[in-house]
Symmetry: C2
Subunit: 294 residues, 2 copies
């Protein structure tokens, strides 16, 4: 675990990789605030002809909506460069599960999940439609429900918990999928509970773990990227702020890894004896690379 | 573990006890439906001069409001017979913690908690005031917060999770109390997620367990009842529907225990090899005792 500080170290790191996979929240930005020098550092990589992918556990936006965010904050990105846990969930249901056309998915989560499911031709309901106040009365079963997908949901309510619980309790053969297991995510200069926390009432009440978790550190998204773009893992680096998702993902996938300290992970946690997940390198912020363009 | 079915068994059970502690949801009623013959069975115990207490993990109503419910469903009860996890939480803060007068409690839960806290002179906020839609923007810290209390909350939302998380994350010395840890509770002929499930996002995001859980199977309420009413534990029986709260509570408190099958626990679970919490007796329903009054 080497901290990159000098121009020599930063340059040598860039030169030894062809491809960079980026986590977004906590690395490029936090909410709508882009971290200092991120645009310049990203431009440097583009100017050197590096391949760039964005690999986010954020399931709240579809990839198309995520691309709008890149435009809004003025960072270059193309649709085929964006991989999200919501899209990974939809792809998993379509290609791995081969989810039947006569079944539908109940979604506890935001528009990113329902839009990605619909884009893959998978019927779904819930999501934003179940936001707001609802009487928690008797919840009828729906025999068409074949799966429940849970992701970060800032409109979570008791009705959604009861509905998801009822479907999975009534028929344990129904699939229970979690877009990602991040316990927190960085926002407003602090952290808030993430998808992995929001889903725990269901695990506790059902006495059941999800059948699959699609986001980092699970390797689904990496496998898709490597297969589609024929990359050499040894010349690919995962850049992220979370040890138990981003860095674990890169390490387990055989990539080099770079941890930035602008998000969830602080230097004392990174260096603590309790920490078993070590990146290959770490750096104060991704913007540090911008110094090389001077 | 003996199943009581004959009049002889039922009679002998009653005669060998002076005092009966009752769980309510799943034993006497489910929602607003009183189970068959419960009124008659309760009247039989009263006519035999038995002492009766209601020991509920339900924190949604204050004891005064709970008494209204008894009146509404026409089951005799007095205020001093009712013990709830909300009241136990307020008593714990007042007498055990000696919660400072210049501090206040943030409540994730229903009116039962805020009303019981206020009845003990403990300042609190949140509760029903934080129901409904709220922007989850930056959450300012409040130095007056000394504790966060979480109970079942059918108005749970992301704002409350973020607020509770923020207070406990900002200052780990703040107390984190859970009224009760029931993962589910019986309602509408099925079960829904309980307080112990609703609280788990905080435990997961904070990587922290509550400092205290006040409801059954913790013995706080039993200690209060035994001390106030000078009861003989050997002649006292706990009647409940949940193994990991009611029956564990009675067993650990040195009482005899009776499990009813009208609530969360089904006979196959009770008898399964995995079940380590065995009641002294069990019966299909508490209403079965009404047959003795014929």
């Amino acid at each position: 675990m080497e901290k990159l500080t000098t121009s020599e170290q930063l340059n040598s790191f860039i030169d030894s990789h062809d491809t960079f996979l980026f986590d977004c929240d906590g690395v490029l930005w936090e909410g709508s605030n882009v971290f200092p020098n991120v645009r310049e550092a990203m431009q440097l990589l583009r100017s050197k002809g590096k391949k760039i992918f964005f690999v986010t556990n954020n399931s709240t936006k579809s990839r198309a909506a995520y691309l709008e965010k890149f435009k809004k904050v003025d960072i270059e990105a193309n649709l085929e460069e964006v991989f999200s846990s919501a899209n990974a969930t939809a792809a998993y249901l379509k290609y791995v599960v081969k989810f039947p056309a006569d079944k539908k998915v109940y979604v506890v989560g935001m528009a990113g999940i329902t839009q990605e499911l619909e884009a893959e031709g998978i019927r779904c309901f819930g999501g934003l439609d179940d936001a707001g106040a609802h009487d928690v009365d008797e919840i009828p079963d729906d025999p068409e429900v074949g799966a429940v997908v849970v992701g970060l949901d800032i409109h979570i309510n008791y009705y959604k918990y009861c509905k998801a619980f009822t479907y999975l309790h009534n028929d344990p053969k129904r699939l229970f999928l979690l877009t990602n297991a991040d316990s927190t995510f960085p926002t407003h200069g602090t952290i808030f509970p993430g998808a992995g926390s929001i889903a725990t009432p269901l695990m506790t009440a059902l006495e059941r773990q999800p059948d699959a978790i699609l986001g980092k550190p699970r390797l689904n998204m990496l496998e898709s990227i490597l297969a589609e773009h024929h990359l050499d893992p040894k010349k690919t680096c995962m850049i992220g702020d979370r040890l138990d998702t981003d860095i674990d993902f890169g390490n387990r996938g055989g990539l080099t890894t770079l941890c930035v300290l602008t998000g969830v992970t602080k230097e004392n946690k990174l260096k603590s004896e309790d920490n078993t997940i070590k990146p290959t390198y770490y750096v104060d912020s991704f913007g540090d690379f911008a110094s090389l363009s001077n």
